[in-house]
Amino acid sequence: MNAAQLPNLIPLLPEFVLGVGAMALLLVGVFRRAEGERFVDAAAIVLLAAAGVIIALLPAGKMTTFGGSFVVDEFARFLKILALLGSAAAIAMSLDYAKHEGEQRFEYSVLILLSTLGMLMLISAADLIALYLGLELMSLPLYVVAASHRNSLRSTEAGLKYFVLGALSSGMLLYGASLIYGFTGTVSFAGIAHAAGQGGVGLIFGIVFLFAGFCFKVSAVPFHMWTPDVYEGAPTPVTAFFAAAPKVAGIAMFVRAAVTAFPGLTSQWQQIVVFVSIASMALGSFAAIGQRNIKRLMAYSSIGHMGFALVGLAAGTTEGVQGVLVYVAIYMTMTLGVFAAILSMRRRTGMVESIDQLAGLSRTHPTLAFFLAMLLFSMAGIPPLAGFFAKFYVFLAAIKAGLYALAVLGVVTSVVGAYYYLYIVKLMYFDEPAGKFEQMPYELRVVLAICGLFNIFFFVYPAPLVGIASAAARSLF
């Protein structure tokens, strides 16, 4: 036997930096327990930034390695940088919370780094094994950080619930993957696309199971049941993390698998995505109306937003994928901004989570109230804020693909959903103040200001984001 050649490792460089860096920080944290925590947090953000810079500096064009299992194209670059931004913001937003709750542990940052490593692998995965391993590496740290307040019943319940349901969904995904492998004889997406042809009942069966696993990970209806409980139970910075970066990676894997592995079966999987998308939009809009806890409300809001993002995938065209990418980018800024505001809802007695506590915010904290109101308007999709453009691109793609019913239902549910966003704005501007919050920490102000300004001024110059998303979408087809 001749010696195997060393695979090309250049495309893997960002993942390598993150993985080795995370392990080095683990050592630092273990040996310098007390004084190492601040250093580990700062170093984790530096590592995420370094990985982002390396991704930007990688040679242009499409690169594959490890026999085609790992692919770096425009699509991967765009989403990887988004995921890194989301994770870095999540670590920054956890600093103050950890200081107050006295539960600061260096493992939190290390676990987020390893989860982000999983996201990058997932975004680049071009076969079923790499997809599954990336997914598990992303999810396993999430289960742990959800339960990281181990003395709190709600937190441990959230972690356990997430873990058990996550294992179930992994099982479904693996079952689907094994059926697909059985019917096509290969695990690589290109090979599946080649062998699938017009499909057959068995292959469709496999796709249904695979998509069920995907829907669980992006919390789309009917696999959304875990979301409100986990969002409410997990510590708030962890919830902020859940709502941002893992959703980006989940949507990335959904889009890449659907578009590159099953291009000949678009009309088949389109039905699934259309149903999931309508159900998510409807549930996200109607179920959120009765919520009084702002974290539960954000959970339903994220279910709805995933439904809107999937409208673009349902179109199955380049414009559709471009719409999805613009949507997740804008969704991430909106979510991070709103969570920065939620994390600043702290009174002397501790964190508060009820939306009634926001009453009269415009008089006690006018700047916070203004930015939060703008972000909520953006989530509701009111022009000229960024959220309007996000919805505009996905609905445009759906109409161009002839999915009129889907687009109309999307607009209707978006109007219903506007009710609860506007209700919070009404509470903040027209109700009697419920009392002042503590001083807002520096890093939360930065995140809130950046996200708020991005959403307000996106309409002035949308070309860069839309252009990059369009190039990324074209690299898939």
Partner: protein, 205 residues
């Protein structure tokens, strides 16, 4: 061929029977022992198929590690398993019904099994034919070469599992006195003993 068939039915029959006993046994320790029996017989099935590597892995990992871990957990924890599992058998009819529906659906799928013309070409065969190498060797040839990426990723996932277990269960108690060998070795006569002159008849203050 007849011998082969006899052993197949022996292993398969015992596997299914012991799997039923795992959920039906009253004593949880018996359940785990039946689980071990099921694993060993499944390993026998693998050997019959010529997958001896999988058979050994099944015995070493599942019987050697997982089942024994179960056994020690069952024996150590004070959980009333009989109360926990009360009613499992009363749910059996519904479970059997759902299982039957799934089985029928699967049969329909298998019945509609059409292998496309390109599938045979798409299957890659990175290993030499079975006549040349045993399957342990064949796995070894690709596991650390073609599949090194997957192998390393699996390793990182296991690292995460370890970190997670420690994060969720390790409590640092403040008053624990740990042995610090460097301090013990660094003791000298001056720091270790104190000489007190005691006047006779007075004792220590």
């Amino acid at each position: 061929m007849l011998l082969h068939a006899i052993f197949f039915y022996l292993f398969a029959g015992v596997t299914v029977a012991s799997a039923v006993m795992v959920i039906a046994a009253r004593n949880p320790v018996h359940s785990v022992l039946f689980l071990i029996l099921a694993f060993v017989n499944a390993a026998g099935l693998f050997v019959l198929m010529g997958a001896e590597f999988l058979a050994w892995i099944l015995i070493i990992v599942y019987v050697g590690a997982v089942a024994l871990l179960f056994l020690s957990v069952v024996m150590m924890l004070d959980v009333d398993f009989t109360a926990l599992r009360r009613g499992v058998l009363s749910y059996l009819p519904v479970g059997v019904l759902i299982g039957a529906v799934l089985l029928v659906e699967l049969l329909i799928i298998v019945g509609a099994w059409v292998v496309g013309p390109d599938v045979a070409k798409a299957i890659t065969a990175p290993i030499p034919p079975p006549a040349q190498v045993s399957n342990t060797q064949a796995l070894g040839l690709v596991l650390y070469t073609n599949y090194i990426y997957f192998f390393q990723t699996a390793g990182i996932i296991l690292l995460v599992a370890m970190i997670g277990a420690i994060v969720l269960t390790l409590h640092h108690k403040p008053n624990v006195r740990r042995q610090i060998i460097a301090h013990q070795v660094a003791r000298s006569k001056a720091t270790a003993i104190e000489i007190v002159k005691v006047k006779s008849g007075q004792g220590l203050p």
